[in-house]
Amino acid sequence: MSPLELLSAAFLFAGAAFCLAGTVGVLRFPDVYCRLHALTKVDNLGLGLVVVGLALRSSSWATALKLLLVWLFVLISSAFTCQLIARAALRRGAVPWGGRREP
């Protein structure tokens, strides 16, 4: 395995790990807002690291560029959508968790 392959594999694994962390977060966190926080980890870091790992080994610049574009779209959309979802939840009266144990 070449160093580049190793680096790429490392990025891919790291990305997958963040995806797992995000999923666990969505499953375990106590309220809507915390779960949103977990979701953004997948959007930003999980997908980001996977994209970087793939871009390192991509055959052409165009491919790498398209991969980064995918990530960029997800980043922008994630920034807006999380804000929107959180606001909607707040307006509907979901009270943020104050550090108590989940009932």
Binding site: F73, I76, F80, Q83, L84, R87
Partner: protein, 309 residues
């Protein structure tokens, strides 16, 4: 690893479908259905059908998702038939299993190595004027199906607008929301770019009018939701021209050979590629309009939620 991935995906799809239909809350069913659309897109991807995955992505996340969210605003949360269904559940499971076995028996009896019509398509693709085989089948070899399919879209748009004719705009408060406004401004150029790219790429790779039209419609849905426009109305002449230029052009291209002794949809070999491209461009607009007409506007019912039997 490939086998594991395929097996897991193939197992999950029916499971998810069962969950969609089994759950008692409608909101749960809708979210599961969105997930089902995503998984089926992955299935298309695994089966090397990127064209279909593109359509699933464009329609599923854009239009169908928004449409289903919209249904949540006017249907009852818990379907009225929960108790009745619970009684019937063992019967339903048995029927599903029996039907699956019967149909599976036929599938197992199919020849396992038939190439279908792949070789024939390959042999004639040169004459079709298009490099991508799926586009060649869709717009040239079986272009007549596509012509009728456009009629299907028009009929559905006409029917959907006929029953909900008024174009409803969201409250002015929604229009002023800076967040969605900024989102729309950032999305628009990207949407136009990707849609144009997909029409262009349809000639030699997966893409084409329907995919591009569906993406434009996705942008249109956001525009409707943020009160930048209303659902297109049949009563507006401009809307009708935008809707019908594509079909008229397609019909014109289809019948033109008849006047010079040719057959319906027989494109002259030299111009086939160009003609198909022009028709695709015009159909993109038509398809985007039709899909937007499917989207029923934004105002939740004034009188509250009624039951939808």
């Amino acid at each position: 690893m490939d086998g594991l991935l395929d097996g897991c995906l193939a197992l999950c799809l029916p499971l998810l479908a069962y969950l969609v239909l089994r759950t008692e809350s409608l909101s749960q069913a809708v979210v599961l259905f969105v997930a089902f659309g995503l998984l089926s897109a992955l299935g298309w991807a695994r089966l090397e059908a990127p064209d279909i995955a593109l359509v699933e992505a464009a329609v599923g996340t854009g239009l169908t998702g928004a449409l289903l969210m919209h249904t949540l605003s006017w249907t009852e949360e818990t379907p009225p038939d929960v108790r009745a269904r619970a009684r019937r559940r063992p019967w339903a499971l048995l029927a599903m299993a029996a039907l699956t076995l019967l149909l599976g028996w036929a599938v197992l009896a199919l020849p396992a190595d038939s190439p279908g019509l792949g070789l024939e398509v390959d042999a004639r693709r040169e004459d079709s004027g298009v490099k991508h085989p799926v586009t060649a089948v869709l717009l040239n070899f079986r272009g007549y199906d596509t012509l009728l399919e456009i009629a299907v879209l028009l009929v559905a748009a006409l029917g959907a607008r006929a029953v909900n004719p008024r174009s409803e705009r969201a409250s002015s408060e929604a229009a002023k929301d800076p967040l969605t406004g900024e989102l729309f401004r950032m999305m628009t150029p990207a949407l136009l770019l990707v849609a144009g790219y997909l029409v262009w790429v349809g000639d030699h790779g997966p893409g084409g009018a329907f995919q591009a039209g569906a993406i434009l419609a996705g942008g249109g849905v956001v525009a409707i939701l943020t009160s930048r426009m209303g659902t297109p109305r049949m009563s507006s002449l401009r809307v009708r021209w935008a809707l019908l230029t594509g079909p008229l052009l397609f019909i014109g291209v289809a019948v033109a050979p008849l006047f010079s002794g040719g057959r319906l949809l027989e494109f002259p070999e030299k111009y086939a590629g160009t003609l198909i491209f022009i028709v695709e461009m015009a159909l993109t607009v038509t398809i985007a309009m039709v899909l937007l007409m499917f989207f029923p506007g934004t105002r939740p019912p004034r009188t509250g939620r009624g039951s939808a039997r």
